[in-house]
Symmetry: D2
Subunit: 348 residues, 4 copies
């Protein structure tokens, strides 16, 4: 196992994804934190923007550019969608063996048409997809120089449905309703994200297939089955800072008991360090995974409705973004996959 | 229109349903508040249990019994499920013309087998169902002596799906994921309902058809269409005190555009004082209806997934329970249906 | 008592203060809602900005100007501090008998030096102060053409301390720590007010006498006693949308028992329709007053520390702003003071 | 430095203090987790009670008794107040060199009269007080066999005031208003701690010197100055699971500038690994320390009010309880004091 230290730059260090990457890297035994860059916050001290990161409080944010990011072993990008593509192209020109891990959406989708329809700009390309729990994916990530970290909703939705779809327990005509904390919407100040608006409030958005994560979920599940996959995805904004709970269901493909479905899930994730199928009858809650890289799952069969119903929980900023980035960093560099990551949430 | 004053007793005045009934009745111009009764809290002053109801703070709670409830024009029952049946039987023996409005589940279901399977006790019977927005239901409630107030989840789920099901836009094979505030679980102190547990947390419960409201939703939708209805219902507990947001979808029965679906909803509820189909593109949020009897709805069509998706919001304690009780009281006694009720929520 | 209808314009209708004024005016039997004006939101429909105000959803916001506000019986101003002064001057020039009620700070302070130090612009003047519960103040507001609605923190801090200061129970050297919901900070989108930041978080701000409400509290208490008043005021931001709880204490001026202090408070507010001294031993909570014009108070004596300690709760948007505006509107126009206002909060 | 592994038992493993101790011990490189005991939850699996602690999910809780706790190097007690005393006496009889760390109040107070007045039972004795940041206290804890972990409010109140009191900047006549998350009240299900009650709500309790932590704060500050100390302490319950923000003030003893006060604080805590005086002008917020052992502080001088005002933030369950327990375990056993503890909170 690799145990040498590496120097890691973080672009977008003033945002939520960047801040969580830094929180995790501070606990990583083989990482030295290098340049911290930002857009409009460049020039400010990190302490004024991320007051919890006291060991880095005096660090001054630099401009996000290929120059400030050069000279690192790893660059983690926590940028608005569409900004990683051009920057990654420049980093690629350096030809210095740097590992680039993109927390944005730019390199996730394989179909350029999907990208253009949902993101409205030219497709930057496709990188190895940073969900090691998918079949064969861990191997693709080992030693990779480029990694596209999955979206938060696709991470939990895919892992919650994958065993059922892969085993053919269900028709791949799935309904996902996923309730997310507000940090998934980022740190840009918008009126509908004010505390006064979100506290005591639940709302739906991106309804009817309009959310950008829909094609990503479809792509992931499509890799697990033959024939077309259909995904009805509705995200909800709920009054908490972190966490996603995804309620997923699909019509049964044939007779299957709750016990059989459960056994399928237990077997599928038996060797996964971060995916935890709860004991029968215990349903996931987001709080159990807050701050951790854990995924909590449960599944049952509704015989009256003729559907398999599975529920999954992740922390959108951790396993849903920054934790996955560190997990992939470990795989790319040959560290133990769990280095610097916890599977235990901060509860209550 | 009736304008005489009536005397109303409230059983279960120390609970959340009873408290909300009293809050609304205090603003009702034709109601005099009579006996307030409770179970284990009998003997205490209401002010120590419902500190917001200052006009009634010095009232002492009496034991819930046919004797304390006798002599009123109206009795509103806010009791744990299974307790209304026996008490209502005794009230019926009085033969004094009293109007009884039950906020519990005892008289909602028409199928005794459903009742026994989900509630585990003998079926008490079926009363007129207090959802005047259902076709023909307002007429059944006018002058009624007995009313079964609907469950909170069934109220919003039914109203969110009814136009689509009744118009045949969808196959009646629906998926409902409904996020509820914690007051729907009542005021009995249970560890999983502690603030420390629910804040910052979303969880699923009663998954796979196990929740008691499933047969009630099925029954309601079944009255709107021929042939069998299937309901996959998953309730979520979200960190807020009040409000339910129901995300409902079903496979399209044939080609229908989002505009056609929207027009169907607008037409269905054009004359309803409390149901508000939002302008196109604006999706419901629970905060807009908190404290009010309003229902906010929106609908669209997901052509890729082949589903109609509709979202509805109510306050579980108001239109979901106590507001419906007052609305039905108005219908039963001949007052204007909106008397004492607001259609404007307390936001932000 | 006056019972004629009046036409009321609301400037700043897209903000929290304006929205709450409209919510209350919709329930006021003698008010017709006239022009709704805004700054940057002019031209938009109210429904997109205040989705709970469905009866006014189709109303289009006009530019805030003396022209749009002219021709009304009453104009309520819910504008950023410093904007009411110039506008009020223009409205005054109209000489049409209009009643102007300012929810901003512009006309609250009597000392121009205080204004200039804390608000940094020329002093606009001083209007009758809209806290009818202060001695002699109700009389000054009856028939007034101009009213300065108090600040939210000063309202609760003043009412919580006034009986003790006026009766000489304490040395007027007070400490106030007041925890406020986030709506007090307004609807302008700022990063530190994002839901992701405020949920799960308590913070102090304006510490050490830096908050603008400090001189207003000092001014109010100064009117109740001879000699100098000193106020140490610290506001806290707490994770809820509405409500302020003020914890106030001061050194005892001489021997006084808890019972004597309590009796002083009960007597001081015996005739007040909205101020409720709770039963002995019951301490205020903000939830009991949410959405209402009520003030809940309690007081005790800490003999070991030698201090009187009193706690008060209000809804910052209701009695703390918009409720007070309506209460003053009633007084100014000769309606019953409680018209359109509730003393019962929406709980839980 | 000690680096041998020790076996640690946790009594009260189903509660919040015990759960947080276990969360921290799972990350401690030199600890093996031994017996887990409980009261009424004995016999249950830990996974059903602490679903976030998945590595221990299959562990069965044993009865809390000297037999189940015997044979460990360290025993951490997370029991209701009054239960540690008798159990500790029995553990002391074993004479096996065990280190006992009590998270309860039993051994904190030095004055038996204080104990009896506030806790109502015989005084069990006094153990070394687990606040190593107090002068001379770190030395007393090194190698200690018994440690009394401080209360959560006393921890933050003491550390927030200590430099000012010790340096004589203020008269020791302090006012503390401390806002706490709900986990400080424990996991026992009580109606006023339900999520429905605490969300959207702030309340005061134990007002007027009635809270049990008042004498502990007085005792701590008394050790830093000559002459009598007076403490006016008011705790607030705020809607979040974790965290305390203490707003503390006292009359200035003489002329002192904000800069001088700040310099005093910086110097006092210059060598402390967990106490962080924020940059001038930046005020503490609880979220920055959630899940961590950090204490964030700021101080200023209010010249008009003549008071020094200081604000401190801790996580009540971490530095306020379980983090302090682990910090003291490290000192008692000779590990590096920071082993297994983070100074970085989980934000946002």
């Amino acid at each position: 196992m690799h145990m040498e230290r590496v120097k890691v730059a973080v672009a977008g260090a003033s945002g939520y994804a960047g801040g969580e990457v830094l929180r995790l890297l501070l606990a990583h035994p083989f990482v030295e934190i290098g340049a911290l860059t930002a857009g409009s916050n460049a020039g400010e001290k990190l302490g004024s923007l991320q007051p919890h990161l006291t060991p880095l409080a005096e660090r001054v944010l630099e401009e996000t550019s290929v120059e400030t990011l050069a000279g690192h072993d790893v660059v983690v990008l926590g940028l608005p969608h569409g900004q990683s593509g051009p920057l990654a192209a420049q980093l690629g020109d350096l030809d210095d063996g740097v590992v680039v891990i993109d927390c944005g959406a730019d390199f996730r989708l394989t179909d350029p048409a999907d990208w253009e329809r949902f993101y409205g700009s030219p497709h930057a390309g496709t990188w190895p997809y940073g969900l090691p729990e998918l079949p064969g994916q861990r191997e693709r990530l080992a030693g990779a120089k480029r990694v596209a970290v999955p979206g938060c909703y696709p991470t939990v939705s895919t892992l919650t449905l994958a065993p059922a779809v892969a085993a053919g327990l269900v028709q791949p005509d799935v309904v996902v309703v996923a309730a997310s904390g507000t940090s998934g919407a980022g740190k840009a100040a918008k009126p509908h994200l004010l505390g006064s608006e979100v506290m005591g409030n639940v709302s739906a958005y991106g309804v009817g297939g309009a959310h950008r994560h829909t094609p990503e979920i479809t792509q992931n599940l499509g890799g697990l089955t033959d024939g077309p996959v259909r995904v009805s995805f509705t995200p909800l904004l709920v009054p908490m800072p972190r966490g996603i709970l995804a309620t997923c269901s699909a019509p049964l493909a044939g007779p299957v008991t709750a016990e059989e479905a459960y056994a399928t899930y237990v077997k599928a994730y038996a060797d996964e360090p971060f995916v935890h199928v709860l004991p029968p009858g215990q349903w996931p809650q987001t709080k159990s995974v807050v701050g951790s890289n854990a995924v909590h799952l449960q599944v049952t069969v509704d015989e009256v409705a003729g559907r398999l119903v599975a529920v999954g929980a992740v922390d959108n900023l951790a396993k849903g973004t920054a934790g996955a980035a560190v997990q992939c960093l470990n795989l790319a560099l040959g560290y133990d996959e769990t280095t610097g990551l916890s599977a235990v949430g901060v509860a209550p």
